[in-house]
Subunit: 224 residues, 2 copies
């Protein structure tokens, strides 16, 4: 089993959610069957959304520093449980020879597995992920990407990052999702690692794919 390096902290609760799901998904009869996982849960990185708007510094130097540190500690593959930060994935990939398992690639594959003939995806993702067209490019031509009402969605994500996962937040996230379905979305992609903390398959009338879960499965496959 390969040692996994996790570029984390965006946000810290989402990183812990990923680690907990990775642990739970690992077939293990004893503690030694679990993966060796090194995590830099660093919540003080430059804001991804501001950077994408050219309204703040880039998170790339911090992400690269973490990648190099994890590689030095023995990481044999790198993952990053934050969709938006994948706008700087090329900087990470260029920084070390350690393979990088993309949450974008994993989530696109998971959507196509759930809805093979998908033509319209509701993308529950933050500004930076939408603006960098990570999933637009990931799905390619033939798939329409619908964004939620970002004036509602962004404050919800910041509320989750601040620790609010209560009923009101959940109801408002479900409302945004329902509007995407009404607009034609055949599947909802939870493509911000805060989203699964307040939204799941029980909250929508169409299939819901969690990018976090897709990265868990891809990490296990790559580490085997």
């Amino acid at each position: 089993m390969k040692t996994v390096g996790v570029i984390g902290g965006m946000g810290p609760a989402a990183t812990l959610d990923f680690l907990t799901k990775l642990h739970a998904a690992t077939p293990a009869a004893s503690e030694a069957d679990h993966l060796h996982v090194i995590t830099d849960n660093h919540p003080h990185r430059a804001d991804r959304n501001a950077a994408m708007r050219a309204d703040g510094p880039s998170p790339a130097p911090s992400l690269v520093k973490t990648a190099i540190g994890l590689a030095a500690m023995g990481a044999e593959l790198l993952v990053m449980p934050c969709n938006a930060a994948h706008a700087w994935a090329d900087d990470i990939i260029a920084a070390t020879p350690v393979p990088f398992v993309s949450i974008i690639g994993a989530a696109v594959a998971a959507v196509r597995a759930a809805v093979p003939d998908v033509t319209c995806v509701g993308l529950l993702a933050v500004e930076a992920t939408q603006a960098a067209r990570l999933y637009h490019d990931g799905f390619g031509p033939g798939v329409t990407i619908l964004a939620p009402d970002m004036d509602v969605f962004m404050p919800l994500i910041f509320a989750v990052k601040a620790g609010d996962t209560g009923a009101d937040i959940r109801a408002r996230m479900a409302g945004l999702a329902a509007a995407l379905v009404a607009g034609g979305a055949e599947v909802l992609l939870a493509a911000c690692t805060e989203v699964p903390l307040v939204f799941g398959p029980a909250d929508a009338a169409v299939p819901v794919v969690s990018a976090t879960d897709a990265l868990v499965a891809a990490t296990l496959a790559a580490a085997a």
Copy 2:
């Protein structure tokens, strides 16, 4: 806030329990208020109990390697959410100039805060912790330490490490604790980081102190 380095993996679920409790206990209005935490969750270290019996290799080289790696990544204090591994704390302390916050010291202080005139502690801890006399020395003269029936306790811990946190395991742990209280324990110290996964204050007639919780509080205090 200082960057925290976590020497983890003993076991991996106990490390995630510590990280989750540390996150929850951190006063935070936004993600940037959380601590920067670097964790080496490494579940393939040499067995602490076998090493203490001189029946297997020492975990010290692996612990020291992790400590040096965490320091190189920027850790400004080190913690280790595993009581038994503190038998090798001196090796870690000698390996780097980064301050080490001991779970033993934190838990002794928490017991004395809960029961100021304590004279008898029920110590829910594995063989290595008992044999190394970590808490015997930590409390010093005047405090009697009672161990559970180790022939029952050790298989329970290995079951928890294998992922079993069900009702039967919980009932048997509560039974061991009740026997310690019957034997004179004024307080029960959950001094194996697997114990809080299946045993808590509601399961006993005397105060229960979690060494994990004590380390969380000590980590927050040291990082401030």
